[in-house]
């Protein structure tokens, strides 16, 4: 067993217990053994001075794409988990749009095994809703959950058939898992490549109207109401979606929602000059949408921040805008972007941000973590909020560098990440595997 560890004198923030005070954290046998002032160190324990640092439960990301199996040149479960650790995440949920699709217990088991083998950030598999993500037949939720799946989703593709969505929500109730949907009405989005608005009109690019998302948000909320199932809405991007979710929650419907750091900070103007690093789905929207998403996160209408980490080969984005793939990497910039843009600008308090990036997503997906309660797994994060750094994609642990935040000056980053009490990331000494 690892040596006991005492994190001495940090500002401890644990949103699960409304804690924000200077304290020591004792970690023993892979678990949080105690939080309090002046904790004694057991014999042989390592003591780390974390004065001027923040100690918090590790971040949890319920939406990443790790590309393994199928596209290991771009990312693997190990490199994705290392990027996650560097970004302060102790648990991530891997979407099933792999090749082959993660739609059965063997595929789910493979991801669990690769995660354990990497021994870094925990990677929880999300199984496909439908076999092959074809939108036709339900996958075997029961066996996938048995093998370790924590949710189901056809992400990357919307669930087009309302009947399939309904049965997925009903069937998932037996296993107590959320059904995560990528909300996009495909006939309306058609071949759109960016937000439909004035910028798309000027650039001559096919737009995806906000309504393409909102129609599916409304439908999913109605179906969750009909079935009593838990629908999780992926990467919400429009102010209209926010209002629909607000109404659904007021009616007691079991809906949770996530928003990405980029939808909280960038608008469709980032697509000007045809910058393919600003091409993502859902697309970057307008300033009014960004404002509504920020307010919704503050209020809790949107539950959590998720990165939608989507690695692509460097040359895939070196193409005309129409031809480039959707998506950006986000694990290593998520906290810095959110802290700089939301906390330092006074929109969220730091405990609120930790809540939205750790406790709330863990709760939404029923994952361990998101807490420093004694007895919980020691998935712990130490943050340096004064560290000003510049995003340098060449320094990413991820295999991919497709980010619109390159060169951006950020403040705040993870200096120490522990998973089950084991150090998986240290800012001053990258952990070799």
């Amino acid at each position: 067993m690892n040596r006991a560890l005492v994190l001495r004198g940090g500002r401890v923030i644990d949103p699960s217990r409304n804690l924000d005070e200077p304290a020591d954290v004792l970690i023993q046998d892979g678990k949080v053994a105690g939080v309090g002032r002046g904790l004694g160190a057991p014999d042989g324990a390592e003591v780390r001075d974390v004065r001027d640092r923040v100690v918090a439960p590790g971040l949890v990301d319920v939406h990443v794409h790790l590309r393994e199996p199928g596209n290991e040149d771009v990312e693997t479960i190990a490199t994705g988990a290392r990027a996650a650790a560097a970004g302060g995440f102790t648990a991530v949920c891997a979407m099933p749009n792999t090749d082959p699709v993660t739609d059965n217990q063997a595929a789910v088991g493979f991801i669990v095994r690769q995660s354990v083998r990497a021994g870094l950030t925990r990677v929880y598999p999300i199984g496909a809703i439908s076999v092959g993500q074809k939108g036709e037949r339900l996958s075997e939720f029961g066996e996938m959950v048995g093998a370790g799946a924590v949710a189901v989703s056809d992400d990357g593709k919307p669930v087009v058939s309302s009947h399939l969505m309904r049965t997925a929500l009903e069937y998932a109730r037996t296993f107590g898992i959320p059904v995560a949907d990528h909300c996009e009405e495909p006939t309306l989005a058609d071949a759109g490549v960016m937000h439909e608005g004035l910028v798309s009109a000027r650039l001559g690019l096919k737009g995806i109207p906000a309504a393409a998302e909102e129609i599916m948000v409304a439908r999913d909320a109605l179906l969750a109401g009909l079935t009593g199932g838990h629908v999780h809405l992926c990467h919400i991007s429009t102010r209209g979606s926010v209002e629909l979710i607000r109404r659904a929650k007021e009616e007691g419907i079991r809906v949770t929602a996530e928003v990405t750091p980029h939808h909280l900070t960038l608008t469709d103007r980032a697509c000007e000059r045809y910058d393919t690093h600003a091409k993502m789905n859902p697309p970057l929207r307008e300033a009014a949408d960004v404002a509504a998403l920020r307010a919704a996160l503050k209020e809790g209408v949107v539950d959590c921040i998720a990165s939608d980490h989507a690695p692509h080969a460097y040359d895939a984005k070196e193409a005309a805008f129409d031809d480039a793939p959707f998506g950006i990497v986000g694990l290593e910039t998520a906290f810095g972007v959110a802290h700089t843009e939301l906390v330092l600008s006074g929109i969220l308090t730091l405990p609120e941000l930790i809540h939205r990036m750790s406790t709330a997503p863990a709760a939404a997906f029923g994952l361990p973590g998101g807490t420093l309660a004694p007895g919980a797994p020691a998935d712990v994060l130490v943050l340096d909020l004064t560290d000003s750094w510049t995003v340098d994609p060449a320094a990413f642990c991820s295999k991919s560098r497709n980010t619109p935040f390159a060169g951006r000056a950020l403040t705040g980053r993870a200096v120490l990440t522990l998973v089950g009490g084991k150090v998986v990331h240290q800012a001053d000494a990258p952990v070799a595997q």
């Binding site: 608005g197 798309s200 009109a201 001559g204 193409a319 005309a320 129409d322 031809d323």
Partner: protein, 360 residues
């Protein structure tokens, strides 16, 4: 061990990315003949002509004024001047085009440039890949200028940012077709003696039209009032915010306008469900003689071609006394000569001399 491998990957990536990231300052003055002017002066249009949105009214006026002396070249028995002798130009067409390609080719040949035509096609992803590789290959061959037509919006800008050669956009997706916008402006100015204060209405499929976007920017910058008319299904949402008047009925547009620029209706728009039928489109939006006869004044009729007679425009209108459709084609060569000359670093005040060849 794996960490080392990962670092190796990163450094390899950095090396491989190098040629893509290299954004040299524009150096079009490299190797100019003295006839084209002082090598140290900044070219008046910049390195590339990607669109009219980011040109100033002065730059647009300069192109139109420079086109004037070049018009005469095409009227000579020997239609050739030495202004671009020794320059190599590639006409890179990823999309079928007859009129624009020929017009550019004549402009290039009449300026004595050496030209190569490349026609490429393939699936959209292949096009994207080809575009990067094409850029690198063109750069490696040290050509002076590239005229590019591509089905993806932004393709010309993409290429321009990756090569030192001058890039001229001959139509990129639904974005811009700047030389068409310029030749339309020149034709309007020829006909009316001015652009400023005129009311010009673009009729038809503005949503999918690069000609419409270049016209809107060019006309607004030159002081015209701009209208757009067509069904909402073929209008970009929020188009009014660009500063144009919106007409939903062709009768209202005709009553308002001095000039109608009738856009080509791509017949596949009907299959995609933007309009119910070509027949109904003509009945509701067609620019017909009967409708024009009710107008308070004679309207100048323009069309970028190729025309669908009896779809967006009545033959009697296209062939009528107020049509300047063939003048547009004639002006196209002069405008493209002016653009090529200016991008190559030619000085506008020397255009007359350059075409005479006396200073070569």
């Amino acid at each position: 061990m794996r960490w080392t491998w990962s670092a190796g990957f990163a450094s390899e990536l950095a090396t491989r990315q190098l040629p893509l990231k290299r954004l040299e300052p524009p150096q079009p003055s490299r190797g100019f003949s003295r006839a084209l002017g002082d090598e140290t002066m900044t070219p008046v249009l910049g390195k590339d002509l990607v669109g009219l949105e980011h040109l100033s009214p002065e730059q647009i006026r300069l192109v139109l004024d420079t086109a004037e002396p070049f018009k005469e070249v095409s009227e000579r028995p020997i239609k050739k001047v030495p202004a671009l002798r020794g320059k190599t130009i590639v006409n890179l067409f990823f999309e079928a085009s007859t009129r624009t390609r020929i017009s550019f080719e004549f402009a290039e040949k009449r300026l004595s440039a050496d030209t190569v035509n490349v026609a490429a096609s393939g699936s959209s992803v292949q096009k994207g890949e080809t575009l990067v590789d094409t850029a690198r290959n063109l750069e490696a061959m040290r050509i002076d200028m590239v005229v590019i037509r591509h089905p993806s919006s932004g393709a010309a800008e993409f290429l321009g940012r990756r090569i030192r050669s001058n890039v001229i956009n001959a139509g990129d997706g639904k974005h811009e077709h700047p030389t068409q916008g310029l030749l339309d402006l020149l034709t309007i100015r020829d006909k009316h003696g001015k652009v400023d204060g005129l009311k010009v209405c673009l009729v038809g499929d503005v949503l999918h039209s690069r000609v419409a976007r270049s016209n809107i920017w060019g006309l607004l910058k030159m002081g015209a009032e701009v209208g757009v008319c067509g069904p909402d299904t073929l209008m970009p949402r929020g188009i009014e915010e660009l500063g144009v008047c919106r007409f939903r009925r062709i009768e209202e547009a005709i009553e308002w306008a001095d000039v109608l620029n009738v856009l080509r209706l791509q017949l596949e728009r009907m299959e995609k469900g933007f309009i119910p039928s070509v027949r109904e489109y003509y009945r509701v939006f067609g620019v017909t003689l009967e409708r024009l006869e009710k107008a308070p004044r004679a309207l100048t009729i323009m069309h970028p071609g190729p025309m669908n007679r009896g779809v967006e425009i009545d033959s009697r209108v296209a062939d009528g006394p107020h049509s300047v459709i063939l003048d547009q084609v004639t002006n196209g060569v002069a405008v493209r000569m002016a653009v090529l000359y200016l991008l190559a670093g030619g000085r506008p005040e020397l255009a007359d001399a350059a075409k005479g060849g006396s200073s070569e």
